[in-house]
């Protein structure tokens, strides 16, 4: 279906006067450096659901706990402005699995393409970081993210967008920056079983390949995030289908691909087209009224 659409836009482009010929191979913003950037690998077969990652995240980032209506805490049901990573349980008929969800730190992130003011940026080190001083609070990033990761501080008067920073402190809050002092993200360093590990994306990809090769019968034969949605910096190995973990089914093309192809050409195309139409109409109708 997605292939059909892509062929279709090319057809439509030709129909629009051949002006919408799409440039091929737009470079993903992460480019070839993605393998050297930091990443995480989560393996469902090793996860015991202890939520140490979830707590470590809250501790390090000083995010408030979210008590239930009786005042008991802390068991948030979903990601929120205060919960940047969460452990969930998939309980199927004859299979079960824990799932850890949070920002995927995509190589070519939809939130970054959507943001009108570059408040969200993909750093060359890998993390996708947020700058509240630029943000206008339009929430386009929240709609654009296929993982529904960015959340909003709804209860604030001037809310910020809030999500996992890969423990970079968004490159602004030095106190919360673990990466620059050689530490890994709090969640990965807290994991007692090695279900969540961190390293460069290249290292983790070969580690994931190794696990897949050595225990082929244990895993679904796929590294989620290697190519899904154009590739992500958080990778998943799973013994249950990935959609059961709450991960969307995405093609290998980056989510913002079509957007990024249209962005540089649609403006000049319409502008030149518009000038031609207006000038043409003006010339032709002017000629007609002169004849009369």
């Amino acid at each position: 279906m997605s292939l059909n659409r892509r062929q279709f836009i090319k057809l439509a482009g030709l129909g629009m006067g051949g002006m919408l010929l799409l440039p091929k191979d737009v470079e993903a913003s992460g480019g070839g450096d993605a393998e050297n950037g930091v990443a995480m690998l989560y393996d469902t077969t090793l996860c015991i659901g202890c939520k140490a990652c979830q707590n470590a995240c809250k501790d390090w980032n000083e995010n408030p706990v979210e008590p239930d209506p009786t005042g008991l805490y802390d068991a948030p049901l979903e990601l929120s402005a205060d919960t940047w990573t969460i452990i969930k349980l998939y309980d199927g008929d004859d299979e079960r699995s824990f799932s850890r969800l949070g920002c995927m730190h995509c190589i070519d992130p939809a939130c970054v393409a959507a943001c009108p003011v570059h408040a969200l940026q993909k750093t060359s080190e890998g993390p996708v970081v947020y700058d509240a001083n630029r943000c206008i609070g339009c929430r386009y990033c929240m709609i654009a993210c296929p993982f529904s990761v960015p959340k909003f501080e709804w209860e604030e008067v001037l809310p910020r967008v809030s999500k996992c920073t890969f423990c970079t402190g968004n490159n602004q809050n030095r106190e919360k920056d673990r990466l620059s002092v050689g530490k890994g993200p709090a969640c990965a360093e807290a994991c007692p079983t090695g279900a969540l590990t961190w390293g460069t994306r290249g290292e983790l990809l070969s580690e994931a390949e190794r696990r897949l090769a050595e225990n082929a019968d244990k895993y679904v034969k796929h590294i989620y995030g290697k190519n899904d949605g154009g590739g992500t910096s958080v990778l998943y190995l799973s013994h249950v289908p990935f959609e059961k973990l709450g991960l969307p089914t995405l093609g290998p093309e980056p989510v913002p691909e079509l957007n990024d192809q249209l962005a540089p050409i649609i403006l000049p195309t319409l502008f030149i087209g518009g000038v031609l139409v207006l000038a043409g109409a003006h010339y032709l109708t002017g000629k007609k009224s002169q004849e009369n």
Partner: protein
């Protein structure tokens, strides 16, 4: 808007009603900016966008009256369209003012609104940025186009002559910016393939949005001009209205072909019957907003001012359905999540709309929207 048959010297009741609604809306708007979104809206992480965005996405093409009439009268050699240029441009301008007002209410960090204008911040790959920049620029163009209406009241001939000497350039820039951003609003949804229901998501959404703005803008012009002239007790130019109707019907037919053709080519025609309430929505939108006005405009009714007026009304209603679906209802949210607009979202929107209508009515009374001497 209601038409009043008898025009009295005093201030009619409708002014008071609209004024009251405006005051309530402005008050609620200020309250919302002061206290945040949590207690004044029902927006949430599941529904980051709601009524306000939907209304903006609807109002921009409806305010297309300015650029469509401007293009036809200035560049397509239709002198007769000059007569309706002022009300069409005023409608467009007030529409954009309403859009900006609603957008500011919607922005969580409205205090940093200026970010969209700072060259070191803006992201030109974001179609939202393209829309924001265009709306800002275009508003300035509209102010220039509108200025003579006000300046002539005080006989300020010099600035009027200055604007009129450059009117082709001003109007041309306005038409071009409009063409670009009307399509860019559609392009904003290109990146939302995973969110927007496939009945509405298509790679040709920029083309669909531009076409809608062309017929939607002309429809709005036809509706507004009929109402205004009736109110002022001026005769209707039947020939002009039916000529607008003829342009509209070509655009409507083109839109219908693109819309159905897109579903056909992508093999999604079945969705028209299998998507439950979404199927119903798309049928409503196409039946009321496209097919019904097409039928009116291709029948004998299309030659009558009433026919074009009602076709215009149905087009606006259909456009409303379409844009509310794309900006809100058709965007996927978890099945358990709900969103019904908060009464403050509703009343502030009504207040802003009432304010725009009120200003239009006041300008109609105090200034000359239908000058006879235009050449």
């Amino acid at each position: 808007m209601t038409t009043m048959t008898k025009e009295k010297r005093g201030i009619p009741l409708s002014f008071y009603v609209l004024g009251l609604l405006t005051v309530i809306g402005v008050g609620l708007g200020i309250y919302r900016l002061a206290v945040g979104l949590d207690s004044t809206t029902n927006l949430s992480d599941h529904y980051p966008w709601g009524l306000w965005i939907a209304l903006d996405v609807f109002l921009i093409p409806a305010a297309g009256s300015a650029f469509t009439v401007s293009a036809i009268s200035h560049f397509f050699g239709r002198e007769d369209y000059h007569k309706i240029l002022r009300p069409a441009v005023l409608t467009g301008f007030l529409g954009y003012m309403a859009v900006v007002a609603i957008l500011i209410l919607d922005l969580g960090r409205w205090h940093q609104f200026y970010s969209i204008l700072l060259p070191n911040r803006i992201n030109l790959h974001s179609f939202l940025e393209e829309v924001a920049l265009s709306v800002t620029l275009y508003t300035m163009v509209l102010i220039l186009e509108l200025a003579p209406t006000f300046l002539e009241k005080w006989n300020l001939d010099l600035p009027i002559r200055f604007i009129e000497s450059g009117i082709m350039i001003i109007a041309g820039v306005g038409v071009l910016i409009s063409t670009v951003h009307q399509s860019s609003i559609g392009s904003m949804f290109v990146i939302l393939e995973h969110r927007l229901h496939p009945l509405w998501w298509t790679p040709i959404i920029p083309l669909l949005f531009l076409t809608q703005a062309l017929f939607g803008g002309l429809a709005a012009a036809a509706v507004v001009i009929k109402l205004t002239r009736e109110r002022l007790g001026l005769p209707l130019d039947r020939k002009l209205l039916s000529s607008i109707g003829k342009v509209i019907r070509i655009l409507l037919a083109f839109y219908l072909i693109c819309k159905v053709g897109d579903l056909l080519l992508t093999g999604e025609l079945g969705l028209l019957f299998t998507s439950g309430s979404y199927s119903l929505l798309v049928w409503l939108e196409l039946a009321l907003g496209v097919i019904l006005p097409l039928a009116i405009l291709f029948s004998k009714l299309g030659k009558r001012a009433d026919g074009v007026f009602w076709a215009g009304v149905w087009i606006i209603i259909g456009l409303f359905f379409n844009r509310v679906t794309i900006g809100w209802i058709g965007l996927e949210a978890p099945a358990w999540a709900t969103y019904v607009p908060h009464w403050i979202e509703v009343m502030s929107s009504i207040g802003i709309a009432a304010g725009a209508i009120l200003v239009y009515m006041i300008v109609t009374r105090l200034f000359d929207l239908f000058p006879e001497h235009t050449h």
